[in-house]
Subunit: 422 residues, 2 copies
Amino acid sequence: MKIEILCTGDEILSGKTINTNHSFMARRLVENGFEVYWGTVVGDDRDSLVHAFEMASQRADAIIVNGGLGPTVDDLSQEVAAQTAGVELELNQGWLDRISEWYQSRGRVMPENNHKQAMLPAGSEFIDNPIGTACGFAIDINGARFFFTPGVPREMRRMLNEQIVPRLQNLRGYHLTTRVKRFHTFGIGESRADRLLDGIEEMALDGSVKLGFQSHYPQLETKLTLQGRSEQEIDNKLRPIETAMREKLGNFVIAEDNQTIEGSVLDALEDVKGCVSIMEMNTAGMIATRLMSDPDHVDRVKSSLVSWDPDVLSGFVGREAGQGTSTLHAGELAASILQEEGVTHALVVLTERKIKGNKDSSESSSIIHIVVADGLRRESRQAELPGSPDWIQTGSTELALDCLRRFLYGLPVQERIDFEQH
Amino acid sequence: MKIEILCTGDEILSGKTINTNHSFMARRLVENGFEVYWGTVVGDDRDSLVHAFEMASQRADAIIVNGGLGPTVDDLSQEVAAQTAGVELELNQGWLDRISEWYQSRGRVMPENNHKQAMLPAGSEFIDNPIGTACGFAIDINGARFFFTPGVPREMRRMLNEQIVPRLQNLRGYHLTTRVKRFHTFGIGESRADRLLDGIEEMALDGSVKLGFQSHYPQLETKLTLQGRSEQEIDNKLRPIETAMREKLGNFVIAEDNQTIEGSVLDALEDVKGCVSIMEMNTAGMIATRLMSDPDHVDRVKSSLVSWDPDVLSGFVGREAGQGTSTLHAGELAASILQEEGVTHALVVLTERKIKGNKDSSESSSIIHIVVADGLRRESRQAELPGSPDWIQTGSTELALDCLRRFLYGLPVQERIDFEQH
């Protein structure tokens, strides 16, 4: 079954708005085992819409039209759908009542032009929108099935997931449920992950498991897409595979699904009612930003001291200046933090200021010294990271968070990552 | 003249990659006074490409094809271009030499399959790519002019700006130069900016000046698009208008064009060889992130202390705990920073922890106390910002940066902004 995604609207066509609706719809369709065959973008223009609907009906079996269901005169989707299907527009009284009530419940009177949103092509199938005033609908045009969805992303997303995908499943004649299981890793590149996971897809003998990678430097996201006829079938299929994946990816897995590395760190601190203080150099305070954005965890991070200068950091804990940047000095600072700040954990990141080569060159690099400590243990990590200054800042931040995660979960803090030199 | 943007590639069609190439190309074309009439997305599939080229040639005068010029077998653009134009592929020896040299200069041998990138349809016009191995080309298909561009964004952008837009100007038969002048403001919403700038478009009597807004909370970007037959004509037109805009937007202008508010702050500190130390509460260290990312300005920011707890901040400068969050206490902390840290400037941000209403509700709010001081002056600002916790963090960060900017440029630190309550 060939599917076309037809996005309408001057803002999308003229580039003022980036077409994230296409990519969201396409990804969701592909995850559900459908073939996205074509993508079209047209403006709010009657002739263009008529031509686009005609063309789409000739090449695709199902078309998802996005946008043009609003109350204003340039919203033309219902009208053009009726015109190309050769029917009239009819009032859907049920939907008109719903919109009126929606306005009434907010103490407002429905503007006259919202009436237009309840006019649907005769014979079309109504599709509910529980969170907006633009309902969807489906209708056959030249033998192809058209599904009309609102342009507002959260309304479109909900309608696609809850209403359109099940209808496409029916149209295709068989039901497939899809689940995406995600692993977030830090420290291994895509090609190494690909080698490590060799044979994973084959664990499902029916070919219904697909592996995919998406790199968000410095993290790598590994997606496992599973299909089955029921949730339970997928559960059974997933169990041995996810166990194998955790084993193969090992200590590099920083989080799964919607969890994040900072969430993993904060959860571990919550478990022991711990509290960390941080010193960060050449990370632009990004460790603080990652660990201190969520007011649910105010008691888990006491402070972060941010500076370009190791002497400034030393001064705040009453240490002598002139110790420079070394793993040894980072350890001393961590000891001072534990002693003076009354926290259970300390994280210190020092970076050698001298950058090799041209600072804008991708061939420069920095040496990072990280120490994590609590009252019993002190672990250190040294790494040389290559790249531009902002890549080094991003990489140092991630490496520091990962050292803290490994320390808290009892994993080895020293384990070579693909991004470091030598 | 109608232009179609035709993007090719399975990654775009399937939503794995968001189609930012379309939006970039469309915006640039619209800025140059062209009409983007249609957008198409197809996969790396021969039949789809043939069909797409045929359709596009019938409805548009010029088509920009993006992608499919790589060295691998699924890159089909040259082949399909030749097929639909009814010509053969021919070796472009000049380009093959350029690619070979490119590899040689890096001490590598050109892989055999790159040879394919020098095969162009007979009779096509070569278009240079100074930064990649995929050259562009132009050819007529069914009377429409097709321009082929590489999918790599930075290669496409440069080719579009330097090579395609001038060719489209020639095709259209008249030259229009476009310039976009941008003003970044903080503190005024779009509707207020719109009112303030009433009459600006009319200052150009020929209707060649357009005003547009793009909101990036908490900043607002105001774009002025000017067209003219020469750079000098645009210079003359722009001069009185930009003066008027600066006057109308007043102290709210934080930066122009590619400048940022943090850049404005750092430039002002560079001018006086000043250095600031910061204390930030409930901003998740984002002031540090904004001011401490650029190694060119290491001497302008000494440190930032980040904490959820005002007592922790007090402790670092030897002040008593228990002073809470007030403008008065923020002032005392600023005085201590100046005294103890040997800096020329201090910035302190305290936030009242008690959040009104449900913390996830958009009706919650926080009271922010900001103090900026140097050896001679101390200025304070208090504001109540509504919104979710992350909006308040973002808003506090921006407000603090703006207070510092205003202090450094001698502007009033206390000036009501649209986002604050009462």
